[in-house]
Amino acid sequence: MGKTYAVLPCNGLDKCAGCVTREIALQLSAKTDNEIICPVFYRVAEARYNRLAQEKPLLVIDGCATRCASKLAAEKRLKITERLNVSDYAKEENVTLGAGLSLDADALGLVRRAVTKLLNDSEKDNARQMSEVDDFFPSSLDYEIYKKDKFIFRLPTNEGFYFNENDVWAYVSGNRARVGVTDYVQKSLSDIMFFTPPAIGAEIVQFDELGVMESGKAIWEIISPVSGVVTAINEKLINAPEMLNQNPYEQGWVAEIDLTDFDEDSDLLHVFDGYMSILKRKVDEYRVKD
């Protein structure tokens, strides 16, 4: 294993999945130089674990969708390098976790597979595909701006941009599209802490999920404006999700897709004028939840 982690499990005693996170963390630390961050102790002994989290890349293991460990990492402003959600992983592996807290044979099998997966993933750390640089995407974009109080929302005016009403853009040229989110999304979410990309090769139908972004405030599905096959992802976002906040149209793009039927997709998309009026309405009606 090339890379060792600081491992932050949720360690929850509320359900079996929390106990599974604990077991995975224990086995990871037993097999390699991974070091565990105890979420309970972290709350009262911040200095010790902050140092550890700075020295090693952080692996967060959540038990369920409540994401207690991810939220703790966000609260402590830690940068998450790798993550596993046990409930999601159990679904992928067709394992039903029991209602009790003790780990049965199925749960222990899931632990073993998760540990193997995490150790293998770290070895394949740099093996993901990158999009090649070419002249498919405009070298510079022109923007129109909508201001509301201190907030500025940009929207590219270049031809070829399409938008769905879920605030995701697609730049289309021929049978190829680059996809990303609009300023409305990144400003609503505030500081984006984590980006989970779609799988390369995944066949996406319009309005399917195309990855997930998370901030301390919320988790947000990227809803694909187009149908097709994912051919590339913006690998840089995995280690630098803040690029989504900096400019979600240029360096913060999400994925590239080979289109299957853009004529059909375009029926449910807007071009600049249509989406700009929707953006303005959303911004005007937006209110921060108490």
């Binding site: 369920c64 969708a65 409540t66 009403e165 919320a218 947000w220 599905e221 449910l268």
Partner: protein, 98 residues
Amino acid sequence: MSEATFMGIPRSKIDWSPRIDYDKCDDECMECVNFCPHDVFAVRENEKPKLIVKNLENCVVFCRACANTCGLDALVFPEKTATTAHIKQIRKAGVSNG
């Protein structure tokens, strides 16, 4: 607030909102209520169940973010493909009706 529409269709014609699986929901954590910025859910303090889906039309079409925050996996949404087909059908009918 302006009339709610999605792709030009009145929001009321689109069946998209969470369904609560009360076999899974503990009716206690209220994570979804705290999460949803659109007030889709409501809490009735002295009734059972406490948690209900109250403002269906506030739900953003195709958004399932609350389901992703539910630790008990107790929120279910309609099939996206069927919803998309329904939207296209309504739009087509609208165009042909002039």
